[in-house]
Symmetry: C2
Subunit: 324 residues, 2 copies
């Protein structure tokens, strides 16, 4: 029987989204299972695989029409098929190394490819999205953290150990940089993630007396969404926060270009909802900081994956590799 | 006839070194031609190709035993076979784009592969040197400038336009950085090249009153070699200069690791003659600045190519690609 369908699973800290996908990127059926209701990996695998079997049925397909399963997860290692020391996953935690791909295969009888969530997004973008047909690009995910997926010569860059592409953790501020969750200081992520934007807002509100709509919100609960909404209403301080964030990100992108000379950089994740508020300063700063040979030559675009499906599509795209 | 030999040509601002090389990296014959005695590219091509024919004869070979010619040159584009805007080459200059590979092939009847000099070194290292059998590594050349060659998955990273791997031009100092020849400020190259070390020496001598052997040398003529010699004699200020340089380079390497997760970083070029003076602070700073997952995991080694042959070997290695 021809295997013309794949399953994509995106595992986050609260839930796992999964769907059956065809070769053109249509999600035929999908569902969600909780990922934070157990500390027992065997229980989670059972819940997950039961749901996989259900969505295959929902799509009016059988298992032998499924080429394989692609999984995007935090701290996932492509080479080993493991999820390692994932502090945000209750069934993993900081000490465990889970042979996740093997466990799923054993339970459900389908081959599994695993990679980190942003690598999955990069493959999704190349398969169905903004970079179809491109061989050299970088995807930067601006969410709770900052992740990246780097594609060179049409191949995802995994590096020697499978963990390449941690661009959220290059050092942008070398003195008195913000403490990062990774243990370092001054990482890009501490400034240009959604939480980084909220942190910048709190700092700017505290350091200045400038009027701002953001002063109506308790400081501790300000989110990047609040900052975007204030900026869209013309709030000067909120705009300044986006300029600061965009400047920092643009300077980082300039260095990334010196590394891999991408055709395009794709921005992905929650912060991209702020649109030109973030894109304009990013482009300005990137072109000011890049080597002259690349000035105004590298495009920066937002992800073109349909947002509600993006996570599933990205993960599913990984499973098409099983054709080779 | 079996084509078991290649020619390697390394083109620098003063001279081009060329040699005939066998599959094990033995240089069978070699010579040097001047590269700065003409502004006419046709004259240089004629000199160069006459010399190629001579060394083939010197090696007791004929042209039909030669697989091809590999060329390493500044501002060389692998995809297009061009040398572009090479200000340091009298026969090119900032305005010209020379179809160098085609010109050599037309004159001599052998296929030509061209890349920049540090990419050639990286291929040489992988073919004959410190990274034989490795698939993920970075070569950093610390010479008059700072160049790099990045290998991922066993392939040289060329990027979308063929110019990837300009790691000497990531920004290390974002405020009041040193002016770089590329037009930017604060580039790695302005601090960790041989000329960067000399510049640091002059700055430190001027800013402090610390005694130093370097004060016996006219400031304008201090070289990185002078600094290394003083440091080897125990000169405290000279040691401090190497620590500053190594700290900067190590911090940069930490960011490069976050990008491509290499197994090894190979240091190459004049500054490596200073041995542990540079290597010790590089390792310390790299491991302090890298993400915890890579702490003490990435090796930093010096090039293992025999120095007098390194440039020729690197370029020649490129020609073996023509077997495919």
């Amino acid at each position: 029987m021809e295997k013309s369908y794949v399953v994509g699973i995106d595992i986050g800290g609260q839930s796992a989204k999964l769907g059956v996908v065809d070769a053109r990127g249509n999600v035929l059926s999908q569902t969600v299972v909780k990922s934070n209701d157990t500390t027992d990996i065997n229980v989670f695998i059972e819940h997950l695989c039961t749901a996989v079997e259900q969505i295959i049925k929902d799509a009016k397909l059988t298992k032998d029409q499924i080429l394989g399963i692609g999984v995007g997860a935090p701290n996932a290692n492509y080479y080993k098929g493991t999820i390692e020391h994932a502090v945000n996953l209750t069934f993993c935690g900081k000490d465990l190394v889970l042979p996740f791909a093997d466990m799923v295969t054993k339970r459900i009888g389908l081959p599994v490819r695993l990679t980190n969530d942003v690598n999955a997004a990069a493959i999704g973008e190349m398969t169905y999205g903004a970079t179809r047909g491109m061989k050299d690009f970088i995807v930067i995910a601006l969410g709770t953290g900052v992740g990246s997926g780097i594609v060179v010569g049409g191949q995802l860059l995994y590096g020697h150990d499978g963990f390449a592409g941690e661009l959220g953790h290059v050092t942008m501020v070398r003195e008195n940089g913000r403490q990062c969750g990774c243990g370092k200081k001054g990482c890009l992520e501490t400034y240009t993630s959604a939480t980084g934007v909220a942190r910048t807002a709190r700092e700017m509100l505290e350091k200045t007396n400038k009027p701002s709509l953001l002063r109506n919100i308790p400081a501790a609960s300000i989110s990047s969404k609040d900052v975007a909404e204030a900026a869209q209403k013309g709030d000067a301080l909120a705009k300044e926060i986006f300029e600061f964030t965009g400047n920092m990100l643009g300077a980082a992108l300039a260095d990334f270009i010196a590394f891999s000379a991408p055709e395009v950089i794709v921005l992905f994740g929650g912060l991209t909802k702020s649109g030109n508020l973030i894109l304009d300063p990013v482009l300005k700063s990137m072109n000011e900081n890049v080597m002259p040979i690349w000035k105004n030559k590298v495009k920066v675009v937002f992800s073109q994956l349909k947002e509600s499906d993006a996570a599933i599509l990205g993960a599913s795209a990984l499973a098409w590799e099983l054709r080779d």
